[in-house]
Amino acid sequence: MRRLHALRPVQVDERGQELVSFCGHCGQRPHPLATPRPSRVCGHCGLGLVLQTAAALAPRHDEPFLVVDTSLSVCAMSAAAEALFAIEETEAVNKHIADFLVPADANAPSAENLLTLLVDVASGSREACTAVVRPRQEYGVRFWARIGPCGSPRAALLVLS
């Protein structure tokens, strides 16, 4: 019986990858054995909606992340990202992602691909990938970004580490 208690249901996507839930504001993951909540609002902070993504991509609670839709507008910004960019989510929402992040090396062949990459991921025509980015107007600061799909509705999750 004790072993049965250790079992937990795992949600997988169409490719069999494990999906995890996390709050779009605080990044906390709901306890896997917790009773599903009737609403998508995070039970920890109450200030974010619970989203799903692949386990390998999901942010840790202290990692800054943003959620971007196919029009490249910021749809969600974590509390850590708010501190990083010194802006509140309420002001950041609906702004273009390029107002916050740009490719780290403008001369690299992949530089122009960042926005294409995000659109492709958000529209579902591409899977998870990585990129090197930097905050706009900041030089010498670089982030390794994990980019992949999240939802719902489907969008691109960009986790900075």
């Binding site: 504001h25 909540r37 609403s39 609002v41 109450g46 200030l47 909606l49 839709d69 969600a76």
Partner: protein, 303 residues
């Protein structure tokens, strides 16, 4: 016929959104939405339309901020509809737009969030000397007066005398003054508005009304005419708390007369006047709220 706006208590609104009342209050602090009114007992009252719009937006949203943004956008369609109806000279559609605005908001908020911004937008688009503006301003003036007639009878003993210093109903400030009168009337105060241009027989009206406060509203008439009117009121009723609403931007009579400058938004102004009646000795508000965009240009164009 005005529809009755449906309101929800905090627990009811929280249940509709499947969140706790604490979460709802946290959203109010962080996002400013949903924005509750207060009941007579100072309890929060949420409009059903706002909460329902947010519930729908949350189902499709990626964050609460984006859901709030989407819900606000859904509510602002009333303004677009009203501007469209007035631009197309469609009175029935304009009335319907206000009806639907009233289904989601209180009369005060429908006026401040839909009617006045729509007229501002139309004034900016067509100019206040245009036929579309005249058409829209007359309709809005009629709507506000109709709403005033439908307001419940005065329940307070207080009365306010408004010295109307606007040109006529086509004056951009006139609608704000009508809205101010409407809000005061709906608060249970007796309001009588008289043009500052006429002083004949003024003493009889003032004696009969016995006002608790005087508000001089609008900036069209010359300071001399306003001063003469105010002097006649003072001679009859004695020194009363006096406030200026949407006065001339160049006039600075606040310190010399002790009159208060009210904020340009009718709702805030009416709240301050009620506070003035309740406590006439309270410190006057020194900070003068800025005029809305385009007010000064409109007045200059009007002059």
């Amino acid at each position: 016929m005005m529809s009755v706006m449906r309101t929800l208590k905090t627990s009811e609104a929280a249940a509709l959104l499947n969140v706790s009342p604490n979460t709802l209050r946290a959203w109010e602090r962080r996002f400013g939405y949903p924005k509750p009114q207060r009941s007579a007992g100072q309890h929060r009252l949420y409009t059903h339309g706002e909460v329902a719009a947010l519930r729908d937006a949350l189902q499709q949203g990626l964050s609460i901020s984006s859901a709030v943004s989407r819900a606000r956008e859904a509510l602002s369609t009333d303004t677009h509809t009203l501007v469209g109806a007035l631009s197309g000279f469609e009175l029935d559609r304009a009335d319907t737009a206000m009806e639907s605005a009233l289904a989601l908001r209180s009369v005060e908020r429908a006026v401040e969030e839909v009617l006045l911004p729509s007229l501002d937008a139309l004034g900016e688009r067509c100019g206040i000397d245009s036929a579309p503006w005249a058409f829209a301003a007359r309709w809005a003036d009629g709507w506000l007066r109709r709403a005033q007639r439908l307001a419940p009878p005065p329940v307070r003993r207080s009365a306010i005398l408004v010295g109307d210093a606007t040109r006529n109903e086509l004056d951009p400030d006139a609608l704000a003054v009508r809205a101010f009168e409407l809000f005061c009337g709906r608060s249970g105060v007796r309001v009588v508005a008289l043009p500052v241009g006429g002083v004949s027989g003024l003493a009889d009206v003032v004696t009969s009304l016995s006002p608790d406060a005087v508000v001089i509203a609008g900036g069209y008439h010359a300071d001399d005419a306003v001063a003469l009117w105010a002097y006649r009121v003072r001679v009859t009723a004695g020194a009363l708390p006096t406030a200026l609403f949407r006065g001339s931007p160049n006039a600075a009579p606040v310190r010399s007369t002790g009159a208060r400058m009210l904020p340009p938004e009718p709702f805030s102004a009416h709240r301050q006047v009620l506070a003035l009646i309740d406590d006439p000795h309270a410190a006057p508000v020194r900070e003068v709220a800025p005029l809305r965009d385009g007010d000064r240009e409109r007045r200059e164009a009007q002059a």
